[in-house]
């Protein structure tokens, strides 16, 4: 492991100065794009995502009209900007990692949105990742949730996501869980991304890509679920604030 994460044990402070249970700064805005039906801008630390939603509308020609079985079809396009990472990298279209991300978002929102209200139509979610510093899946899920709320597409509840990690791969006693990992920590430590629907413990999305002892998983899950609840409060605040502004704007 090239990165020195060992200082954590001494100071109990992470590389960016956070404690184990601190989220990075989350900043979100709704209705940022005038041309889209719904849009949102979300920052989780240095991860910055713009999401636009268009639809429900008639599907693009040649792709079959809308979804099957009288439900709306959800399409997701993720675009990782060339300047998003530390090094400039142009990703080819059809990159498997991006394809998997798109698949995850599609699946997650197909079961969260009330798609049966829009038969034969398509909802297109476009995500632009402007800056990437960890928590990619979590940030895209949160941004898409806000944009879908802005678009006024009915959904059963907020789908919010958050990552959690652990300071050790091995089954040792002195490993601590960590909340909301940044890019550097993600490269070095095992972590899970958890997406929660509503404010209960219902896990909608769970993705883990690193090797870790089974016993670590439980604490990581608990921490991530707790983080999701905090993210949800922040996002809820953003939505309510936006609603208040809209009402006041309409009256005044």
């Amino acid at each position: 492991m090239p990165l020195d994460t060992s200082t954590y044990a001494l100071s109990l402070l992470r590389l960016d100065g956070r404690r184990w249970n601190e989220l990075r700064r989350i900043h979100a805005q709704i209705s940022t794009q005038a041309a889209a039906d719904g849009s949102a801008y979300l920052e989780m630390g240095n991860t910055k995502v713009i999401c636009t939603v268009s639809g429900p509308s008639e599907g693009r020609r040649g792709q079959g009209q809308g979804g099957e079985g009288g439900k709306a079809r959800i399409e997701v396009e993720v675009n990782l900007a060339g300047f998003a990472g530390v090094e400039r990298k142009k990703r080819a279209r059809g990159d498997r990692r991006i394809a998997e991300l798109q698949h995850t978002l599609t699946q997650a929102y197909t079961s969260t949105l009330l798609t049966h209200l829009y038969p034969h139509s398509t909802i297109l979610i476009t995500l632009h990742i402007l800056s990437l510093d960890g928590s990619l899946l979590a940030a895209t899920l949160n941004a898409a949730t806000l944009a879908l709320i802005d678009a006024g597409i009915p959904m059963s509840n907020y789908l919010v996501a958050c990552t959690a990690g652990s300071t050790s791969f091995e089954e040792s006693d002195n490993a601590d869980p960590l909340l909301d990992l940044n890019g550097q920590e993600e490269q070095e430590l095992p972590f899970v991304t958890v997406g929660i629907l509503g404010d209960g413990d219902k896990v909608s999305v769970l993705v883990m890509e690193s090797r870790v002892q089974m016993s670590r998983l439980e604490t990581m899950l608990v921490v991530a679920v707790d983080g999701c609840k905090r993210v949800r409060e922040i996002l809820d605040g953003v939505v309510r604030e936006h609603g208040r502004n809209m009402v006041e704007g309409a009256v005044g």
């Binding site: 005038a34 713009i50 900007a81 300047f83 142009k90 632009h128």
Partner: protein
Amino acid sequence: MAPAATSQVLLSPAELSFLHSSLLLQPPVRPDGRAPNQFRPLVAETDILPGANGSARICFPDGTEAIVGIKAEVEKSQWRANLSEDGAHLGTGGGDVEMEEDGGKPQEEASSHGNGEMSWIELSIEIPGFRDDDPLPIFLAAMLSEGLLAGEELKDRLWINRRFHWKLYIDILLLSPPLSYPLPLLSLTTHLALLSSRIPKLKSEQDEDPLFDDDWEASLYLYPKLPTGKRIDRPPITLLVMAVGSNIIFDPSKEELAVAEAVLAVSVRESQRRENDTSGRRLNLLSIRSVDSPSRLTPSGVPNTMNTATGGSAPVSSQDAVAQRESIDQKGVWNPPRGGVKRALITRIIKLVLEPNGVAQEVMDGLNGVEV
């Protein structure tokens, strides 16, 4: 090259005809009430991305929005035999620079000149709903990089030493579907991003492996600022100009483009000036390209003489229809424009763009206000 997305303006022949005739008036009446050389108001900000060397965002009121991020990376130069007059004897290895230590300084100054290469700048455009190899992004990228590469200055500034150079990646992202022809938007955003671009200050000397100052505060602007806050030169901008009759209209909206008789993309650049030069700025024309106007694909109206419902006689064949249309010049019936542009009109457009306090100057000054 008709950009597919902009031709989808769904206007009836009657609406097109109305638009066309109001734009023909002296002075033209534009749908949004602008003067012919007035631009749409725009929202712009720079330095929005901490991870990029330079970045900018511009938002038009119709909702089209673009983000440009510029990244610079150090790259090893390809060794070239005719690097400079004295390059040959030390070209074999970069390490033996010491031998010309005393005379080094002035030479270094001189050698960055004319050493820039086209391949050091890479420009890519991402438009939602388009693939990388679709004509629209490629065409736009070609037009934008053409302007950037036209001058030597930018390329030469990427030169670090004989062995290394900066590679500049310009990534242009259109966030919204291309509602109007996105060229001016992308060009202005790129302009701002380039203005905000900074590269770290070089600490190493001559042909050593480059070492840079960690302090971002000490970094240098890619387009250097004079102590007065003015720039020695600025990146080029590309403006979209259209003509209806003898009227010249700047920054057309998509509805206006649908009735354009000619559409031109004009790239201009401010010429480089010396530090003590106080005479007014001079603008140079870099390139001019005609853009196939989407108006040619619009459906034409049916005049009363060709409509059986109004007592006319319907044409028997399609040739007959063309022949009949040719002979009618009825007001209020939309006929898609055909043919090219008069040379005099192009001259007038260029003049309008380039004249002192002309449109290009105004745009540049406007963008000046956004600066960091």
